[in-house]
Amino acid sequence: MNIKALLKSLRLRKFATGLLLLQLSLTIGLMVNTVILTTSAIDKLNNPLGFDVENLIVVDHIPTSGAFRDPSYFRSIAEQDLAKISALDGVVSASHYNQLPIQRGGWNGNLQAADFPDDGVLEKYLRYVPQFYASANALENLGVEIIRGRALNASDDITKDYYTPGKRDDIEQNIVLTESVAKAVFPNKPALGELTNNGRVVGIAKDFSITPGHPGNAKYYGMFGNFLFSQPDREQHYIVRVEPGQLAHVKAQLADTILSVQAERDILRVQSMADRLSQFYSKDTGLASLFGILSLLMVGVTVVSSFAHAHFHVTQQRKFIGIRRALGARKQDIMIYVFSENWLMSLLSSILGIGAAVALNIGLSQVITIDKPDILLYCLSVLVIFVSGSLATWLPAYKTTKISPVIATRTL
């Protein structure tokens, strides 16, 4: 293989060669970044969330009638809802929540030790700790384990006192914290038994994913109290835990079950927790899909170019190929010659492609978060280019075998 001769031949057609090299490198650059986006989207979806995502159904609803303004009416309906849902075939348990795990934003507040100094500065994410007001069995319902202390029970329910005039300010709530937030609020001592600005810690729960968008352990921060916020202006949430395989069956009945208790409700959404998860990441998966489609299109266009480049060269060089054959080159020598030109292009573009991949990665990181490219990924993309380029070159290379040596002697 005469590399120098090949390079020279390419240099004579600088413009055409340059165009193809640019296309190949940009395609490599795009493919690398597409795979990065795709794998990160898949990772996010497959990240262990720490709770039983597969067997949970979420119901979001809101009352439409003014009758619900009476807190005791509100409460009695909620209790009836949960009782009827729990009685359904295939249901393990059901709880109410003021907000849901896997969310952006929500019902947050400061969480700090009760003796935290007034002029102290609280760490950023401790100012936005999700405050879950839910049934006593809220965590068990999610499949989250209590690792220290105890779970909440009926005696921790503050709903009645909260809605009794005069009693609200005296409430000291019993709360359960997730492991990470407990450690963040009480770094130097066990949190169990300590008093916070939101109540006394009676239990520590295992970490599970509550606000996936927060960095580090802040995504696991959460505080749980046994309380039913009995005001009808906000969406209410029930999470229903089902036996394996019963999800579709139960999901179909939930809306009717709730409405059969009291029809003046708007059932906004009945969704499996798994669907909620994919919806949460729909932007990531959506973008990865778009990039994927674009990469395919780009490879397609580049294949067309590789084909045109090889075809053009072959037709231009017909006479010289004929001369070579007349002088003794075999058909496969010519074919290899044509292929080697394409392989050289792929090689050159794999070098340029490094720049393209890095530049595109930097450009994208200005608007979205994207991981940096790694070597393995890069090599994979280069391989795709080699293979698709070779495929594109096949037909023109094959056509050279039809060039008869007699061309060398023709004067026309």
Partner: protein
């Protein structure tokens, strides 16, 4: 003109004689333009100016007052009831309004059916309507801060009353009647500049507009964003407390007004500081509509990222078309050489190429618009949240055609120039 017709005839003949080549070239170029255009449609719609006639005169107010020590420097877009009331009292701005977002279920008083309709509510002040240039179809704004009067939007009017002049009719929320004093025309405001945060930027305009005091009186809950540093016992309890939930906007028509407003806010901050509040390190902020939208990063980041990728793809498609044309002009060199030999000037050959490129560009434009539409539907299906964010209007189609023609031209330039300047000789190949 005669020559133009001749070149047109030649171009059509070239296209029909080299069908495979041209379909390949037009298709690959159209895919690049189409995908690019689909993304542009979304970005253009998202970065549109919602109030083009006065976007530089309407301002968001964000205050730097915080009740606790050591506040962070970042300003909040929401303020307290007391702050909002003070801002409403100003005599500087042409229009002032404050608002918060809530939601109710409502139906016509005395309607046979018990079905209540969900209504997104803007609890606000009378200045809202002239400031946002909200279009009234019937009636006008309420009289009195605590009035039990509301204005409704067109879609709610259609839903409850089937349309028409509903001024004077009564609707009920939680059993309490409210009189309709105004009905708006169908109103598209994109982005929703007065409430762009927390993914509200591309939701529809509100269904119901009520006096803010009435909403608080009736305990209509605060939606989207609220913050408090003390316990709030009910919605009406927000008055006078350190509960941040109200947004404020003013219309300032001159630089003098802007300066005066800044002073007014500065004085207020000082007053609150003297009264025991703390001030953040940043100054009070007045941002006009477009600045406000930019701060809220209303244009979807994913779409911007994809925009980068589609630009690269378009470049690749242009390069591809260019190399295809290079091959084509090379194989057409016999005729070009012949024409030059018998007396065609370089400009004649160039003009001929131009006409052909325009013809190709037109076919490409048609195909690109089709591809663009298809890809747009694909994008919207992958990003359902973008539903309201792409308008295919005349200007977009014009942009698409322009890009298709431009790319056709760009990809042709070098190959054509090369063909024009080829060496002449009597031995044409």
């Amino acid at each position: 003109m005669e020559m133009f017709n001749y070149y047109l005839k030649l171009s059509l003949r070239n296209l029909s004689r080299n069908r495979l080549f041209f379909s390949l070239m037009i298709t690959t170029l159209a895919v690049g333009v189409g995908v690019f255009l689909a993304n542009i449609a979304i970005i253009k719609s998202m970065s549109a100016d919602p109030l083009p006639h006065k976007s530089d005169k309407v301002f968001n107010i964000s205050l730097n007052i915080w009740p606790n020590a050591n506040p962070s420097p970042e300003l909040l877009p929401i303020m307290r009831y007391d702050d909002a009331m003070h801002i409403l009292k100003n005599e500087v701005a042409t229009h002032t309004m404050v608002h918060y977002q809530t939601q109710v279920y409502t139906r016509e008083v005395g309607a046979a059916s018990v079905t209540s309709y969900q209504a997104k509510v803007r609890a606000t002040t009378p200045g809202f309507f002239p400031l946002t240039s909200a279009p009234f179809a019937y009636g006008g704004v309420w009289q009195g801060d605590h009035a039990k009067q509301v204005v409704i939007g067109d879609s709610l009017n259609q839903q409850i009353f089937g349309g028409g002049n509903s001024v004077g009719k009564l609707i009920e929320v939680d059993g309490k009647p409210l009189e309709i004093v105004g009905v708006l025309k169908p109103w598209h405001l994109k982005p929703l500049f007065y409430h762009p945060g927390h993914r509200q930027a591309f939701s529809a305009t509100d269904d119901l507009f009520a006096p803010i005091e009435t909403a608080l009186d009736n305990e209509w809950a605060i939606n989207v964003q609220s913050l408090s540093t003390e316990r709030i016992n009910s919605v009406s309890d927000n008055r006078g407390k350190n509960a941040f939930f109200i947004h404020a906007f003013v219309q300032l028509d001159s630089q003098a007004q802007i300066n005066e407003m800044k002073n007014y806010l500065e004085n207020y901050s000082q007053m609150r500081k003297d009264g025991g509040d703390f001030l953040r390190e940043t100054d009070n902020r007045l941002l006009d509509v477009n600045q406000w939208l930019e701060l809220n990063k209303v244009v979807d980041k994913q779409m911007l990222a994809f925009g980068l990728a589609t630009s690269l793809f378009l470049a690749v498609c242009i390069f591809n078309a260019s190399s295809l044309l290079l091959a084509r002009y090379h194989s057409a060199r016999f005729e070009t050489g012949l024409r030059r030999a018998v007396g065609a000037r370089i400009s004649d050959i160039f003009y001929q190429g131009l006409v052909e490129s325009t013809l190709v560009g037109i076919f490409c434009a048609i195909l690109a618009l089709v591809f663009g539409w298809l890809f747009l539907q694909l994008s919207l299906s992958l990003f359902p949240k973008l539903e309201n964010t792409s308008d295919i209007d005349g200007s977009l189609i014009a942009i698409g055609i322009a890009i298709a023609l431009a790319t056709s031209f760009i990809s042709m330039i070098y190959p054509l120039l090369k063909a024009c300047h080829a060496q002449l000789s009597t031995t044409l190949k």
